[in-house]
Amino acid sequence: MKTMGRRSLVLILLAAGFFFGLGFFLRDLVLHGGFWAVQSFNGHLNGTGVAASGRVLDRGGAVLAQTKDGKRVYSPDLATRCAMLHAVGDTDGFISTSVQYNFRSELSGYSLVMGLATPTGKASGNDVTLTLDAGLCRLAREKLAGRNGLAAVCNYRTGELLCMVSTPDFDPQNPPKDLDTNKAYSGAYLNKVLSSTFTPGSVFKVVTAAAAIENITDLDSRVWNCNGSVVINGNRITDIGAYGTLHFKDALAKSSNVAFGQIAVELGSKLPAEADRMGFNRSFSLDGIPTAESVYDVKSASADQLAWSGVGQYTDMANPFHMLVLMDAAANGGTPVMPYLVKSVTSPAGLPLRVGAGETGPELIQPSTAERLKGYLRYNVTSQYGESLFPGLAVCAKTGTAEVGGGKAPNCWMMGFSSDEETPLAFVVMVENSSEGSVASAGRIASSLMTAAAKLAG
């Protein structure tokens, strides 16, 4: 019988297998329970596709979305609904970078202990308050005036994202029938700030400038002869006009391709190294929502292609959120305070479950470089774009007019920040296919947004 006792140990093996499996399942439950629960087929979620029963509010407490009688109801104001569409999300969950999609577990009120159940039997989700200001978003949308593009503003001290708008948009309360067929709505599901990349054009000169500051010792005493064009490796790099002999800061302010093309060639492999350091070829995240990667790749580029890449053409691509983080970094001495979107998640009883905060990001620019860059970007505004665009805000900025080819008008960019302690705001604006010029299109929008945001901050 002793042997029976010993041989029966096989049952311990089986029991060990059982407890291992059970532990495995429970671990998965702890890790993924929120995801498991908030499926669109889940009958406990009032039949809303986004699986959300909690409210979404803007920073001022204005209700942007809530569930009433089992139906998802958005802001009563059409302009607000459209302006907040990409941040808040749609009912079907097609906008996968939205708060309603990414925070559906919080909105559903899911918790590991209670699941979706409540002691009182009344299901109620948590409130998600955003850092966004609905008024500012509405203004951005109004100023975009039906053109495709995007705008984002953040407070670079706190990291709060104040404005994030992408067009085209649609009304989430009454999605248009021809949403999927009408070309006017093409890209409407996309939050261009987070998920798109565009040819940067001259805004990329910020990167080339940073590399030049670090690698060309006599930068400020150097001059470039910019007489309209230069031939590199048999390819002609052109400017809009002949600027004559330019010092570095004027070359940046006038955005001379001739000067920056030559600088890029001179920098050689230093330039891709600087681009990588400044956040190209990697993804950032906004409260866990991943962004598209900016691209800078000159591995197989010839000298003329390298020159074009230095002025933001060639295969360069920039993600708007990344550009905003870059401006945030430049304003903060090289290390950004990462923007965030969710100010707080509170239970129906008002208990705060999560409070957002801007975390310190990776160092994108060396502190000394950031300081000099700031001076050049400030000079851009005072000498070229006009201080009147941003009265009293001491804005540092760079514009860009990116050629997109295919006979289309260029994409017009402006990105920058206020160097005034009182108004710690950074912005990025881009208007697609605009022939007005970057200051007239993106610049005007930035001007309105910064003025309005400054009032908000003040």
């Binding site: 019988m1 002793k2 042997t3 029976m4 006792g5 010993r6 041989r7 029966s8 140990l9 096989v10 049952l11 311990i12 089986l14 029991a15 297998g17 059982f18 407890f19 499996g21 059970l22 495995f24 399942f25 429970l26 439950l29 993924h32 329970g33 929120g34 498991w36 629960a37 499926q39 087929f41 889940n42 009958g43 406990h44 899911y110 918790s111 590991l112 202990v113 209670m114 699941g115 979706l116 159940a117 002691p119 009182t120 039997g121 009344k122």
Partner: protein, 564 residues
């Protein structure tokens, strides 16, 4: 603020109060279940006999005392024997000293030199009395009472086990709390859904009075645990369909009858051993009839319909399988090969494959491995069996592509929420939705998914009654296997040890397949969860398996012996 919001109406206050009460009951049920389970297993542990020798063997020449610790004791030269002979002329496994109700016996197990009692050669089993001399090889041992050799008397046991009636009462309390939840499941109070649980309560107390008072048994822990699980299962089934609940209740009653019958039948293991061939043949005939008559249901041809009743023969063959597999120690030591049992197992599993019931085949295979190892102790045999099984599994995947399909979706269910992974993702989703305490009986959504009340029952318990209770239920099943193991050397015969370990192992393995299949830890196989799933044959068979565990506990037959 709107005044109407701040002053809710009386009706909504009452509704809120009821909701809160139901929630508190959902918290209380698993807590109480934990208490019942803990006390039952503590009582089982305390009830185990301490390994004090009652008899000893005294060496005639050296006067060395060899304690006789077990009901069946192997004697031989091998160090794995219970009584080790330091005698080169003795065989490695020479003889077996057995204790039976009628006294002590010695059986020679094909030894070279033979075994002699008072000088007479032993053929088969020979009774021995205290004072008799057992000679094996050149060793002669005298059987003596422990008291006669002046050994200290066994210390009086201090056993303060929880009272069986008290434990059953606590179980009743969980069922009462479940019944209250059922009564309010529809929103308003309705007494009708309480009836199945009330009937179950009557059944459990009837069994209690019958076995504890009429038969004078001393233990009721296993039955209490089984009724605890049955109560949870029955409450769940009532919440889904009251009609099915009555079917389930009948199955429990039939199961209890089979349970009592088997305990009676297993009372004399030597008697039961003589029936093994007949039982084995009957089982195979049952399978043959099944294969000839069965209709295909959900892809598996494992049902026979006789009049209004549909039965799954494979569930009953499980019991026969354990019976055929087990054996007393003297027979094990005499006939060492496993050929007969391997042949029988192969036929059973072959039949199951023809019925396309691969889940049950897996359970049989697990039972086969346990029995084969318990009988032979040979890692080689088990490894060989596993290798053959691996080959078999490979062939099945080649021949039956729909089985392979289940493997393909395994661990990828979220990519198949609409097709092959449909059931699993819903189990996961609704499990998470329920939280620790569930959304409440009758308020679940998983019940509408195909096979929710049997294959996916773990998920339904999680959703409606909470993950905590579901985990408690399956852990109880795991602890049953531990319990079977702990009795393996203490039981009245190797016959019971092997049967209990096989039954406990098969129940746990079945629980693993069910729970882990539904939650995508393993591929979905479609077997029932013991005591909890809806299913008549399965419920009856599970009680039958429990009888093996009960029979293994020597206390089960203690009272009856005392009476004689």
């Amino acid at each position: 603020m709107n005044l109407a919001f701040s002053l809710p109406s009386l009706a909504s206050l009452v509704q809120g109060g009821i909701s809160l009460l139901l929630f508190l009951l959902r918290v209380a049920v698993p807590v109480l279940a934990i208490v019942v389970a803990e006390r039952c297993f503590r009582s089982l542990r305390l009830g185990r006999r301490r390994e004090d020798p009652v008899m000893v063997l005294e060496n005639r020449t050296t006067h060395a005392i060899l304690p006789v610790l077990y009901w069946e004791n192997s004697i031989g030269r091998s160090r794995s024997c219970d009584v080790v002979l330091r005698d080169q002329t003795a065989s490695r496994a020479h003889a077996v000293l057995l204790r039976r109700e009628s006294g002590w016996f010695v059986a020679d197990t094909n030894s070279k030199a033979g075994t002699f009692v008072n000088g007479r050669r032993v053929r088969g089993r020979e009774p021995v009395n205290p004072g008799d001399v057992i000679a094996m090889g050149s060793t002669a041992l005298t059987l003596k009472r422990t008291a006669d050799v002046g050994a200290p008397p066994p210390r009086p046991a201090r056993r303060r086990a929880p009272s069986p009636a008290g434990l059953l009462f606590l179980t009743l309390l969980t069922q009462a709390m479940l019944a209250v939840q059922l009564a309010f499941a529809g929103g308003k109070f309705d007494a009708k859904p309480m009836l199945p649980l009330a009937a179950l309560a009557l059944l459990e107390w009837a069994l209690y009075l019958y076995s504890m008072k009429m038969l004078g048994h001393v233990s009721f822990e296993l039955e209490t645990l089984a009724f605890l699980l049955c109560g949870v299962g029955l409450a769940l089934q009532t919440g889904i369909s009251v009609k099915d609940a009555y079917t389930q209740l009948c199955a429990v009653a039939a199961g209890v009858v089979l349970y009592r019958f088997l305990i009676w039948f297993l009372g004399d293991m030597d008697h039961a051993m003589r029936w093994r061939v007949a039982i084995g043949v009957t089982a195979l005939v049952l399978f043959a009839v099944n294969l000839l008559l069965a209709r295909s249901r959900n892809g598996a041809r494992n049902w026979i319909t006789v009049g209004p009743v549909s039965v799954q023969p494979s569930e009953f063959v499980k019991i026969a399988f354990v019976l055929v597999g087990t054996s007393t120690l003297d027979r094990l030591q005499t006939y060492k090969n496993l050929t007969g049992f391997i042949g029988f197992s192969a036929l059973c599993m072959g039949a199951l494959f023809l019925m396309r019931d691969f889940g049950t085949a897996c359970i049989f295979f697990a039972g086969f491995l346990i029995i084969a190892f318990m009988r032979s102790g040979s890692v080689r045999t088990v490894s060989l069996a596993l290798a053959v099984a691996a080959l078999g599994a490979f062939l099945i995947l080649k021949i039956k592509p729909y089985v392979a399909q289940r493997f393909e979706v395994w661990r990828h269910v979220w990519e198949h929420t609409g097709d092959e992974g449909y059931q699993q993702v819903r189990v996961l989703s609704y499990t998470a939705s329920g939280g620790l305490f569930g959304v409440g009986l009758g308020r679940g959504c998983l019940r509408d998914v195909f096979a929710a009340e049997n294959d996916l029952v773990f998920g339904v318990i999680c959703e409606e009654m909470g993950i905590l209770l579901a985990v408690v239920c399956v852990v109880v099943l795991a602890l049953l296997a531990f319990y079977a193991r702990s009795l393996a050397s203490r039981s009245r015969s190797a016959f019971y040890s092997i049967a209990a370990c096989a039954a406990g192992g098969m129940l746990l393995f079945q629980a693993c397949l069910n729970v882990f299949g539904a939650t995508d830890v393993l591929p979905l196989t479609g077997v029932t969860l013991p005591f909890l799933s809806l299913g008549g044959s399965s419920m009856v068979s599970v009680w039958g398996m429990l009888a093996f565990l009960k029979a293994c506990d020597e206390r089960t037959y203690a009272a009856r012996r005392r009476k004689r």
